[in-house]
Each structure stands twice: as structure tokens, then as C-alpha cells.
Amino acid sequence: MNLEPKPELEAFRQEVAEFLDTAPTDVIREAGRKTTSVFAPFDATMAWQKILNGKGWAAPEWPVEHGGTGWSAEERFVFAEEYCKRNLPPLLPNCLKMIGPLIIDLGTEEQKARYLPRILAGDDYWTQGYSEPEAGSDLASLTCSAVADGDDYIINGSKTWTTLAHRANRMFMLVRTSSEGRKQQGITFLLLDRVDYPGMEIRPIVGLDGFPEQCEVFFDDVRVPQSGRVGAENEGWTVAKHLLKYERGSSSQAPWLYRFVRMIREAAATRTSPFGGTLAQDPVFQRELGELEADVASVEAVEKLAVSGHPLAHDLAFPSFNKTVGTELIQRLTSLMARVSGLEGLSLQLQALTVGGGTAPLGDGFDLIAMPYYLNSRAASIYAGTNEVQRDLIARSLMSR
């Protein structure tokens, strides 16, 4: 073992810090402050992606030949640390972290050429059409069907929980192309070039925080070209599982989690405790934040091992570990945020939360976001496969030894 930091890493940190200090516009910084979900405010975040892409930094994890940065895992971690310190809005995950890497791994040359540059540039936004009203945890029971007709498929059925479908211009989805055999066997993975095909309808769903983030999508004889298929017909399940690995695994959650710890600590310094002094000086509060911070530090330790290539991270259950631990920590942290904010967080302030909305918040920036963040993050243990399902996967990885 060797903890010595590499000198070139410090130079890299300087370079990153300088860019991140100067490049974001005021609107982008506002979006960062008003982020209350893993899905940061759409327009400003996409604008920020364009700026980052101009610098060549939109997709650090992609291979260089497709527009990645060529950074080492350690450099990527440094980048994430500097990024989160500045409270910038996280780039939206669907494209850069999910469909992009999938197309790189499994797409045709034509698909790569057509889609990757536009994903990188932030010109396209892809929504994910997996879940259906009756097919949630049991995703393989999906029924939305695609029937081959000449060079096309004709789609009928519906999808739900499609995040940001109302802001998207493209969609990747799973459809049923056969009802023979095991239900996993008749599924096909499709890329849809548009979300406004005739017969396609998108209806936003308002969430607990009062904002529409998810949508329902209805398909009534929607004709799409077969050239959008990834992998073979009826073999979409393998493709979907490949993507889940990207959806659940992220190698730098700790910097993001520290961001919450920092926000809570700063807020606590400005609030009085009913037992005297500030909340930050209150031993009970310190005990609680301390436990959370220690858990974040453990995540950081695991991630530092992972980026160094340690075998710990090659465990089959690692993506499920990552997803479960990260989401539950976010929930505990936002729960503490909500309690620190207390009464001040109870006001409903949809307008003040809107980037560029021009309405000043009633309290401070922390009170503005504490409750919406708490409410929104209740979903973290549900999306990308519920944490119950993740725990099953973790347990199974032990039992198969």
C-alpha cells in the first residue's frame, strides 16, 4: 500500500479547479443551488453540459475515441471532488452514464456515429422506457409490444416512470417481440429517434415535491424503424442488464455525499439550538452528523480502493452495494436536512425553486431545498431497482459461492 499522492494529480486538481471556478454562468450556479434531485434543473444543466463538452470534459468515463477525457480513475475522482465542492448541478445521468456507454459497447457503427456526438454535445436527451404499470420490479413481465412490419416495428402499449420524457427528444426502451419461452427471452431493446412519432403520447406525472419529473408514455400503433434495435431481436434482456450495470454503479458517490454533509454543517452553524448555542455546537446534533459523515467516509474509502483497482470492487455484488449504500445515505442525509430546517422548510416554494423564476426564497437557500430534496430522495430506494431487490442480489452473490 502506498498513500503518496502523485504530484501530477495536484497539478491536475489546479487545472480543474480553475476551470470550474470560471466557466459556469450565474444561471448554472443557481441551478446547482436549486438542485433537489439526482435530476438537476434541466435547461441550465444541459447548457452546462455544452460548456463542459466544449472543454472536452462532458464524459470523463467514456473511451477517448468517443470523446472521453482519457483521465485515470484517480483523476476522475479528483474531478468529481472539485465539481461537488462547488455545488454545481450534476449532469443528467441517462445519456452520459447510461445510453451513451451502452451504445459504445453494443451499438452498431451507424448508431455510434449518429448518436454519440449529439449525446456528448447535449443536443439530445434520452428518456429510459423500461418500466410499465404492471412491470416494475418484475421488469421481465413487460407487455408493451413491437411487431415487425417490413423495415419497421409497430409498437402498442405503455411505459411509465420515464424520467424527463417531457423534456426528451429520444427514448431507449424495452419491448416485447415474442411471448414464447421464458419471459426474459422475448424482449428487444430499441432506440427511438423521436418521441413525437404519430400515435405516441407523453403525460407528465407530478411528484411529491410538486414538480413533474417522471412521465407516462402511450403507444398506439407507433411505427419505428428496426434499425434502432440494439442487439438481436428477442435478446434485449441481456442488453438491458448490461445497461443496469451502468445505472447502478458509479465510482464517485462520496464527493456528492460530502456535499450534503457540508450543506448540513453550514446550515447548522447559523441556527440556534433550543438547548442553547448554535445547532452546530450541540452534542446531539454532532453525534448524528458524525455518524453520517463516518458512513460517507467509508463510502469514500471503498471508492478510493475501487479506483485504485482493488479486487474489492470486482465483486459481482458491487453495483448493488453501491446503489443501496449510496441511496440510503442520501436519504438519511436529506432526512437530517429536513429536520435541521424544521418549520422553516415547511413552506411550499415551487416558484422560488425554479431556476430563473425570479422569486426570492422565504428563508435561506438551505430551507428552500431541504424538504423538496428529502421528498424527492424517497425515490432513491425505488428507482434503478428497489433496494429490496438489490439486497436480494447481494445475498445471492453470497449464496452462489
Binding site: Q214, F275, L346, L348, L362, M371, R378, I382, Y383, E388
Partner: protein, 373 residues
């Protein structure tokens, strides 16, 4: 000992329950919340017709002399139906504070109008974290001319934007931390120097932050300058009624989640057959039983005049923590659908969050209990 509701209480409860089932189904409730007005005048009239506006007040003040348990019996229903009408703010807080003052013409005047459904009041007490302990009140009320002048800020005053009168807690003497020198006064919201910032709360209620900047108070409007006991009794009563609402919300969540888990199928079976879901339901039931048991027992103690500071804090802490945990479990059990505005589940979660935050959250009250108060 008997911890069941009396026949009269059961009758009242059944009629209110029937009314709410018919007129306050979740969709109707949502329509009220989404309207421009903060509540439904028809529903308020119906509550008046049930006698609820006069229920908590002594007969000597022309009230119905209802007991704590009466209020708990109705409060649970308000929680089950997420009733947004200003019963807590106008009747249980402002009204009770006026009644605590008792023999004072201004107090009697306003209380009469509240009971008759002619006026609404708001209780301006909270000043930020910590005013669950009334001795921390800092808003100042100083002698000026023949009357007083009021300065300072009140936060999250429920019903504060629609009140005909504000019942305000303030300090005429001493420093924050001292139980002495606390006053109750009435202030007309239109008086010069009163600034009202209205907003809606995330659980669908109307509230306001209030600022008082040299507001002139006629001597008559100072109801009492020794108000610590009156404020404490008012808050304790409100906490018990609020705890009843929390338990009612938990009851609804438990029922709706049990039904959902029994009917929602994944992998060809109801999700309730997965042990992790079944055990979560069991934990919800355990939480509900603890909370409801504590509520009914504390209400009986309070009715007998034997509820201590500790008892009230135990109740508030338990419904705060157990309510939040139960509601989070309900959302999780519902999966994606539990995250939507369309379903009641998330609205119960928000109500329980708000209830926990008010009058000292569970962290605060556990510490009061732990300190051996």
C-alpha cells in the same frame, strides 16, 4: 380503568366520520387544497354544525365543555382525511389561548365570534427553532403611551394570512429563557406596522410569517402579562390534538398500504408475500399500535388532569418519529406510485413531516424526556 370512547364520543365520531367519508374523500380534499381559498367554507360550516367550534371551550364561556378525549376522537378523523380546515390554528390554538385568559372582555369577545363561526383567529407564537419552550419567546411588548408597542417576528403562523385577529405571545419583561414576563395579546392584522408574508405549506395549509414593527397595542388588547401557564396549557392541548391527527394519518397509511401490498402483484404473487415487505408491514403495525396506545393513554391522563410535561413530550416524540418512519415505509412499499402527487400516500407523509416539525420535533422532545423533566 377504561380507555374506550364513551357512547357520546362514539356517536360524534361516527357522524363526523360519515360526513368526511361523503364530503372529504381524497379527491375532494385535493380540490380544496388546489383552490384559491385556503379551505372550504361549507366544510367549516359543517364542523360548526357538529358543534366542533364550541367543543373545546368551558360551558362558563358558552362552550360545550368538551374534554381532551373528545378532541382526540375527532382529531384522529381529521388526520385520516387530511382535513385542512383551520381547526388547529383558530380553535385549538388561538381559541384555547383566549379561553385560558378567561375573564377578559376582549378575550370573550373574540372567543364568542370564533365559536359562532363568524371570525377566524391565528396563534402567533413560533419564532423559529425552539419556541416549543414558551419561555424562549423574544418578541417584545413594551409600554408606550397608554398602551404597548410590539416588535419582532413570528414564523409559520398557521392561518396567519386569513385571520380576523391574531393572538400573539410576547415578552413584557425579562429575557428569553425566563418563564416570567410573558404576555398574550390580541392584534388586528390590519394594524399599522404588521407585515404579513403569506404562503402555503407543503401539506396544503395556509400560513404566514409575521413581522411587527412598532405596532401600537391599546392597553385593553393585552389579555394577560403572566401567560406562561396559559401558553403551556394551550400548546399541550394542541400537541395532543395534533398527535391524534398524526395517529389518524398513520391509521390511513397502514390500511391503504396493507390493501395495496395484498393486491399489487409482481413475479406472479402479491408483493405482501415477500418476507421483506411482510415484515415492513408488521413494523408499520407495531409503530401504529405504539403510537395509538400512547395517544389514548396520554389523553386519559390529560383528561384526569394528570398529564405531566414528560407525558406530553413522550407522545409528541413518538408520533413524530414513528409517524415519519411509518410513512416512509408506506411510500417504499408502494414503489413508484407512492412517489406521485396523485396518490394520498405522499400527502400523509407530508402531513406527518409537518406535524413532527411543529411545537418541537421528536429530537427535541426525546431530549426533554431523557433529561428527566
Amino acid at each position: 380503568m377504561d380507555f374506550t370512547f364513551t357512547d357520546e364520543q362514539t356517536m360524534l365520531r361516527e357522524s363526523v366520520a360519515r360526513y368526511l367519508a361523503k364530503n372529504y374523500a381524497f379527491e375532494a380534499r385535493q380540490a380544496i387544497v388546489r383552490s384559491d381559498r385556503p379551505f372550504s367554507a361549507e366544510v367549516w360550516q359543517a364542523l360548526a354544525d357538529f358543534g366542533l367550534l364550541a367543543l373545546p371551550f368551558p360551558e362558563a364561556l358558552d362552550g360545550l365543555g368538551g374534554s381532551v378525549v373528545d378532541l382526540v376522537a375527532v382529531g384522529e378523523l381529521f388526520g385520516e382525511h387530511l382535513v385542512v380546515e383551520p381547526y388547529l390554528s383558530s380553535i385549538l390554538l388561538a381559541g384555547r389561548a383566549l379561553a385560558e385568559v378567561g375573564d377578559h372582555p376582549r378575550a370573550e369577545h373574540w372567543l364568542g365570534r370564533l365559536m359562532a363561526g363568524e371570525a377566524l383567529a391565528a396563534f402567533a407564537h413560533e419564532e423559529g427553532a425552539g419556541t416549543a419552550d414558551p419561555s424562549l419567546v423574544a418578541v417584545s411588548c413594551t409600554k408606550a403611551g397608554g398602551g404597548y408597542r410590539l416588535d419582532g417576528e413570528k414564523r409559520l403562523v398557521l392561518g396567519g394570512a386569513n385571520a380576523d385577529v391574531l393572538v400573539v405571545t410576547a415578552r413584557v419583561d425579562g429575557a428569553p429563557g425566563s418563564p416570567d414576563g410573558l404576555a398574550l395579546l390580541v392584534v388586528e392584522p390590519g394594524a399599522p406596522g404588521v407585515r404579513i408574508t403569506p404562503f402555503k405549506t407543503l401539506d396544503g395549509r395556509s400560513a404566514a410569517h409575521l413581522a411587527f414593527d412598532g405596532v401600537e397595542i391599546p392597553a385593553d388588547d393585552l389579555l394577560t402579562a403572566d401567560a406562561h401557564g396559559a401558553i403551556t396549557r394551550t400548546l399541550d392541548g394542541a400537541v395532543i390534538a395534533l398527535a391524534a391527527e398524526a395517529v389518524g394519518a398513520m391509521t390511513a397509511l397502514l390500511r391503504q398500504t396493507g390493501e395495496y401490498a395484498g393486491s399489487r402483484r409482481q413475479f406472479g404473487v402479491p408483493i405482501a408475500t415477500f418476507q421483506t415487505v411482510a415484515h415492513r408491514l408488521a413494523d408499520m403495525k407495531i409503530a401504529h399500535t405504539k403510537a395509538r396506545g400512547t395517544l389514548l393513554y396520554t389523553a386519559a391522563l390529560a383528561e384526569a388532569g394528570r398529564a405531566t410535561r414528560r407525558d406530553v413530550s413522550v407522545l409528541k416524540a413518538q408520533v413524530g418519529r414513528l409517524g415519519r418512519a411509518l410513512a416512509e415505509a408506506a411510500v417504499q412499499t408502494h414503489g413508484g406510485i407512492g412517489m406521485t402527487d396523485e396518490l394520498a400516500i405522499g400527502h400523509y407523509l407530508k402531513r406527518l413531516l409537518a406535524i413532527d416539525a411543529m411545537f418541537g420535533d421528536s429530537d427535541y422532545h426525546y431530549r426533554v424526556v431523557g433529561a428527566g423533566a
